[in-house]
């Protein structure tokens, strides 16, 4: 029942906003997201390990479509991520409104409902449906309230992700037909398939493509920077902080579970591509003169690192990635909020319009500094734990890969600090920008508190994924 409520609360709230267009749209949306956050925390609190299946109904037996909702530790982590970040994403609307509040918030809530569905679906078909549905509200959000060239960029983004989605659908259809009659697309049924190696080798790519595009991983990334830059702040937040995680989750829940041998076969390639992409994005990020674009490339660089760490097949690597998924979400919401806040003051994302602001807006600079600490993975922040775990995973896999990862982490620190320097430091300038106001404090301080606390007590999160990761690796090892 709680699981259905998790989907229904945002869905109904969104429907209400869409049709009634109440004046208090943002308040209603925030209330709904806080309700879902409370529910998610309740699920977390009551979770006792293992996979909980709460809803299980036949839908279209002929295609193996069943309504199965549930969650294990990894799914729960993603639910926490979604539940935790959406109140902030909605909250961004007060200070940095994208457009008609009722419509914007309705679209955001629709996408939240679909995202909850993605992380709870225990049937591949259901997963696919939510996976695609989460895209449509964002598509309209970008199409209506995007920046320059919104039409061309949105269409490219849409086609890219749909291409991945259709490849995913193809794989799911193929997998379902391989199950013994009556066919079933339940995760458990598909995981029990043990397809021949020859099939897994190509099926891996049709499955992986969807997730590689979502994150994105080099060379499927060309939609990402333009889309992030053009999208309104809230849209960018949803895309990078939450929707990209569908890619990571999909790899763990679908790719590793259904085609483990295919994944093992291609792992070197994927690690190579991901790390190369991460490096490439990091270098480009460093060279950017546009604040938002820099953050967009940094997001891509982080995703490359996370994806590569997944494919190390080590406990540390996978745990680190999952942990980092949450950290990255929090970080991206903070960073894009700061980008938006700076845009409101300077009217541009160009670094040339910034610099020398630390004395004019000291409190804002301090908040930004804390976020930068998280970005460069300073100890005691959340990112530190994640990056350290991933790094250990790389070390176990191969020392040269670990070396490349270290280079990446250093590059990450460089471009983040460089960004801070260009925005805040330098000779003082005569400008009349307002310092961070109460609302901005109200937004950033809780997020900073979260990433500090979780950074100091990482076990809160780690206990969620310990068991499931071990189980996942056992099942992969059994097959090899």
């Amino acid at each position: 029942m709680e699981l259905l409520a998790l989907i229904l609360i945002p869905f109904l709230a969104a429907t209400w906003l869409l049709f009634a267009r109440p004046a208090m749209a943002r308040g209603i949306a925030l209330t709904s997201t806080l309700l879902t956050l409370a529910l998610v925390l309740w699920l977390w609190y009551t979770w006792a390990g293992g996979t909980v299946i709460a809803v299980s109904h036949d839908w279209v037996p002929a295609f193996g479509m069943r309504l199965v909702l549930g969650y294990g530790g990894i799914g729960l982590l993603m639910l926490v991520l979604t539940g935790l970040l959406f109140p902030f994403i909605i909250g961004t609307g007060w200070k940095q409104p994208a457009g008609d509040p009722a419509l914007v918030n309705a679209l955001l809530l629709f996408s939240q409902a679909a995202l909850f569905g993605v992380f709870m679906a225990q049937n591949a078909f259901l997963f696919y449906i939510f996976f695609e549905l989460s895209l449509i509200p964002i598509f309209f959000l970008l199409l209506f309230w995007g920046g320059e060239h919104k039409r061309a960029i949105t269409i490219r983004f849409f086609l890219y992700t749909l291409l991945g989605g259709l490849a995913l659908l193809f794989s799911i259809a193929y997998l379902t037909l391989q199950t013994p009659a009556p066919h079933s697309a339940d995760f458990t049924a598909l995981a029990a398939l043990h397809l021949p190696m020859g099939t897994q080798v190509w099926l891996f790519w049709t499955l992986f493509l969807a997730f590689a595009i979502k994150m994105p991983i080099f060379p499927f990334h060309s939609w990402q920077p333009e889309t992030y830059v053009m999208a309104p702040t809230q849209g960018t937040m949803v895309l990078s902080a939450v929707m990209g995680k569908m890619g990571l989750y999909g790899i763990v829940a679908l790719v590793f579970a259904f085609v483990p041998e295919g994944a093992a076969y291609w792992r070197n390639w994927v690690i190579g591509l991901s790390l190369f992409g991460a490096l490439y994005a990091a270098v480009i990020a460093f060279r950017q003169n546009d604040f938002k674009r820099l953050v967009a490339y940094s997001s891509m660089s982080h995703f490359g690192l996370m994806c590569a760490a997944l494919f190390t097949f080590s406990v540390y690597g996978i745990t680190g990635t999952l942990y980092q998924a949450l950290a990255h979400g929090v970080l991206m919401v903070c960073l894009f909020y700061i980008v938006g806040a700076m845009f409101q003051r300077t009217g541009s994302n160009d670094f040339a319009t910034m610099g020398g602001l630390k004395t004019k807006m000291p409190r804002f600079a301090l908040l930004f500094l804390f976020v930068t600490f998280n970005g460069v993975a300073l100890p005691l922040t959340q990112s530190f734990v994640g990056e350290w775990l991933m790094y250990t995973g790389f070390w176990e896999f191969d020392h040269w890969t670990a070396f490349a990862a270290v280079v990446l982490i250093v590059l990450g620190a460089i471009y983040m600090l460089y960004a801070f320097q260009r925005v805040m430091l330098g000779p003082d300038r005569e400008v009349s920008f307002a310092d961070a106001d109460a609302e901005e404090h109200f937004f950033l301080v809780p997020l900073i508190a979260i990433f500090m606390l979780v950074g100091i007590f990482p076990n809160v999160i780690l206990h969620l994924v310990d068991g499931p990761v071990q189980q996942l690796l056992n099942s992969i090892a059994l097959l090899n």
């Binding site: 002929a62 295609f63 695609e132 086609l159 291409l163 379902t176 037909l177």
Partner: protein, 459 residues
């Protein structure tokens, strides 16, 4: 059989009503008669005895298809009173001709004999030649009628040629006998190969499969919108059913499979790619219907002569064509509404401002467009998914992969129309919607969503 007679008589009755100038009675009487026919079909669901000396056999597939066609015709008739509101004369003929054409459609779903195939196609087509030219003083309408007639006659000639050759092979028009001969003849028999080729040509023309599609955009654009709706829905269903019956009867000899693969690839490619560049909504819908016939042909390609496969392909075709027709009908009604609001313009931009003026109708339009595009939770998605399952099951993995890419293109042009619906227009628009139209559009959209959520009703 009783339903066939009922609809034929109904057509005559409607013609007489026209004689006595009872314009407001036409649609209600037509709808009543159609509902009667639906009831007759529905109660005799499993009638499995051949009629007319074994030339017709209504089974589960044909009954389902016929009910689908009749339901769509009911929806179109409900659209009629508003569409023909200003027309003074010859309204009865239009309803009657559609009913006669529908009878041809019924025949196509149930023939077991090539003669009946020919009769069905002619009964289906001849009223359409007239209907396409129903706007007598409109050049485009005349062009549409003439073009359709000329090309249609050619295709009929091909069909006859094919039938004659197949007769030469088997010495019978009966599909079962022909099927047996084909199984014996092997795929190197020239009589068989040419016979099948010409017969398929005739049917592919009716479905608008590439390269026999050239009539479609022009005819769709020129014909009155109501007639276009009828052609895009009922005629499409009938042609698909006719195709299905032929392959079900002959089995799937190698030659036919090769012809079909080429048709599928060409139809998907041309339909989707050319649709990308369309700015006229009716032409867009024409190309969209071409691309959909590509997917239907893909489903047909998986037929292999076994009863089990025929049943699942048949079910898929009924579901696919019916849900496609629902969405198309609703969209054409909305198109007419928008066209009136824009003083007769027909480009995709006429939908601008619909969301601001009529949010409910805009959401209906969105649902129907997403269904045509095949986005999850709509019926169109389930329909495409069934085709994909069939194709994967039959081992056509590469063709299916190509189909996935083409489906992607399809999503693009539907989404671009959906975007227009939500874009505010420069000047305030007034869309006048008659209550009946509102009901029909809502019904179509609701059905598309409901069938997407609970496909079990039809599957």
């Amino acid at each position: 059989m009783s339903a066939l007679i009922l609809i034929s008589v109904l057509g005559v009755v409607v013609l007489y009503l026209g004689l006595f100038d009872k314009k407001s009675w036409l649609a209600p009487i037509g709808v009543l008669g159609l509902l009667g026919a639906i009831a007759l079909f529905a109660t005799g669901w499993h009638i499995d005895h051949p009629l007319l000396g074994g030339m017709l056999a209504f089974d589960r597939f044909s009954t389902g298809m016929n009910i689908g066609m009749a339901v769509i015709t009911v929806l179109i008739f409900l659209f009629g009173p508003d569409y023909y509101h200003r027309a003074k004369r010859h309204v009865a003929e239009q309803y009657a001709l559609m009913l006669f054409s529908l009878v041809g459609g019924f025949l196509l779903t149930a023939y077991t004999d090539l003669v009946m195939l020919f009769i069905g196609i002619e009964v289906l087509s001849i009223p359409l030649y007239v209907l396409a030219g129903a706007k007598k003083h409109n050049l485009r309408s005349n062009e549409a009628s003439f073009k359709y007639f000329l090309l249609g006659s050619f295709s009929t000639a091909f069909l006859l040629m094919g039938i004659a050759l197949l007769y030469g092979l088997a010495g019978s028009f009966d599909l079962a006998v022909i099927g047996k001969h084909i199984a014996e003849a092997g795929s190197s028999n020239m009589l068989l190969n040419f016979g099948l080729f010409f017969t398929v040509t005739g049917l592919a023309f009716k479905m608008g499969a590439v390269p026999f599609h050239f009539w479609k955009p022009d005819v769709y654009q020129g014909a009155p919108t109501l007639v276009t709706t009828f052609m895009a829905t009922v005629v499409m269903m009938a042609a698909t059913a006719g195709f299905y019956r032929l392959i079900e009867g002959t089995g799937m000899p190698g030659t036919l499979a090769r012809i079909l693969v080429l048709l599928v690839l060409a139809t998907m490619l041309v339909g989707n790619v050319i649709a990308l560049r369309q700015t006229n909504f009716k032409r867009l819908m024409a190309y969209s219907s071409i691309s959909h016939s590509g997917f239907l042909l893909l489903a047909l390609l998986t037929l292999n002569g076994t009863a089990e496969q025929s049943a699942s392909v048949g079910g898929t075709l009924v579901y696919y064509t019916f849900t496609y027709s629902l969405a198309t009908t609703g969209l054409f009604i909305l198109f007419t509404i928008a066209k009136r609001a824009c003083n007769g313009a027909e480009d995709n931009g006429i939908f601008r401002g619909l969301f601001a003026a009529k949010p409910w109708l805009a959401l209906c339009a969105l649902a129907m467009l997403l269904s045509l595009a095949g986005i999850p939770l709509t019926a169109g998605f389930i329909a495409k998914y069934q085709v994909f399952l069939l194709a994967i099951g039959a081992g056509w993995l590469k063709v299916m992969g190509f189909g996935v890419l083409m489906a992607l293109l399809g999503i693009y042009y539907y989404i671009m129309v959906a975007r227009e619906v939500f874009v505010p227009s420069e000047q305030p628009m007034t869309f006048t919607v008659s209550p009946l139209n509102w009901v029909v559009v809502s019904l179509c959209a609701a059905a598309v969503l409901a069938l997407g959520l609970w496909p079990g009703w039809l599957v």
